[in-house]
Amino acid sequence: MHIPDGILPAAVCFGGYATTGAITWYSLRKINQKDDPREGIPKASLLTAAFFVASWIHIPIPPSSVHLVLNGLLGVVLGYYAFPAILIGLFFQAVMFQHGGLTTLGVNATMMGMPALLAYYLFRLRTVLGRKGNRLGDRKGRPYQALTGAFGFLAGAGGLGIAALIAVALLITTIPTYLDVEAERASIYALTLAHVPLMVIEGTFTALVVLFLQRVSPELLGD
């Protein structure tokens, strides 16, 4: 789902850089509001590297396999550091693996990073719902596992789903082809439908990882 160099018109690339600049500015402003913004940097950096590496894990779907995007999970764990993390991750994907590209870095970062931030906001609802006094948390005010799992699923599936929608819309509207409207509509439906099973896998995987983290290292989820 990384759009490579050479495909998108220059105007779209510039647009991508503009939105990326705006979201990065917003994220950095939120980060700099902390007492010591440097304190979170090593954590965010090593987790960025870890997410980069975790996306190498292949999920078997015989006869082939897929790798996961994990942008929803990244949003859940990194919060406001998620967007810079994705920007840096994609930068390395582009310069190390030639996956994506420098001119499309802005477009790709927006496509992956905006859903990650949305996943973060969505997942924060879990903390609100699971608070003491609400019925969805245990006596110590920790959210129930089912609640964590459900929001993990939504964050993972939603993160991929929104990214896929943005990608499909961009490709269909900007690829220099002379397709007719019917073919265009059919391919949008087909590409979107093809992502539904992947969203289910991504959501399930994210839910399982989030449950693992709640058990093993709840501070990673901000608990």
Binding site: L8, T24, V53, I57, I59, F92, H99, L208, L213
Partner: protein
């Protein structure tokens, strides 16, 4: 697993000697100008300049070829689809399929831009040590959060990659095989991903303490910026002129068509 972004950063060529700050601006300018090109008549000049610059950088050809291999698959897919799907002028027919002129031109455009931009970005990041490039970005206004995160991420990608490899080997030795998609397989793989995250998180706390002990976050004396030489600026000027030339030619050609 070592991918060696800057393994040829120590070579000595004109492009290696160019001050990274100006090189970043100059080459990025040219890359953006290339992404602006839509007219097939500009492609030969674009490819020629790319090749000349690669030759000038003295990077080995194997470096380029190894990095073109993976995205080559994507290009192949476009190559299979575009000539058949796009356009109305039929060049020749193969059974029920028609090869169309517009599709072929599109393919040529996409492929040439792709190869040129990719080669230029390899030159940009292959002809200087990575640390110097980050320093150059910092002096051009990259916020410290992004600069520090980029460097630390780069530093730990390989180590965490080795961690993952070790864990996967251990899982394999204990009989785990990811052959089918099932609840158990997914759960084990999720625990693997979770372990990578938890390990990195715990390591980051140690790394942060070690960095603080070495003075991280304390005000530092700004290191003296290297003085710009006339040659660096001349190169920058030449590159920006070239980039502007491409954009101007594109606009003129487009108007000529319209």
């Amino acid at each position: 697993m070592k991918l060696g972004l800057d393994e040829y950063g120590h070579l000595d060529s004109l492009l290696h000697q160019w001050e990274p700050k100006y090189k970043l601006v100059g080459l990025m300018g040219l890359i953006l100008a290339f992404s602006f090109v839509q007219d097939p008549r500009l492609l030969p000049a674009m490819l020629a300049i790319t090749l000349a610059l690669y030759a000038l950088s003295r990077l080995p050809l194997s470096f380029l070829i190894a990095r073109l291999r993976y995205p080559g698959f994507f290009l192949l897919m476009v190559a299979i689809l575009l000539p058949f799907l796009s356009g109305s002028t039929v060049l020749l027919r193969i059974g029920p399929l028609a090869v169309r002129q517009e599709g072929c031109l599109d393919l040529l455009l996409v492929a040439s831009k792709f190869v040129s931009i990719l080669t230029l970005s390899l030159i940009l990041f292959g002809t200087a040590p990575f640390l110097d490039i980050i320093k150059a970005m910092r002096s051009l206004g990259l916020p410290f959060v992004l600069a520090d995160m980029t460097l630390l991420t780069y530093r730990y990608i390989y180590e965490i990659g080795d961690d993952l490899e070790r864990m996967q080997t251990a899982m394999g030795l204990r009989g785990f095989q990811a052959r089918y998609l099932g609840g158990r397989v997914l759960r084990v793989l999720a625990s693997l991903a979770g372990s990578v995250l938890v390990r990195s998180y715990e390591r980051s706390e140690r790394v942060y303490k070690a960095m603080v002990l070495r003075g991280y976050g304390q005000p530092t004396r700004p290191s003296a910026e290297p003085r710009s030489r006339f040659g660096d600026l001349a190169w920058l000027f030449a590159f920006l002129l070239l980039a502007a030339g491409f954009i101007a030619a594109e606009i003129v050609l487009r108007q000529g068509q319209g």
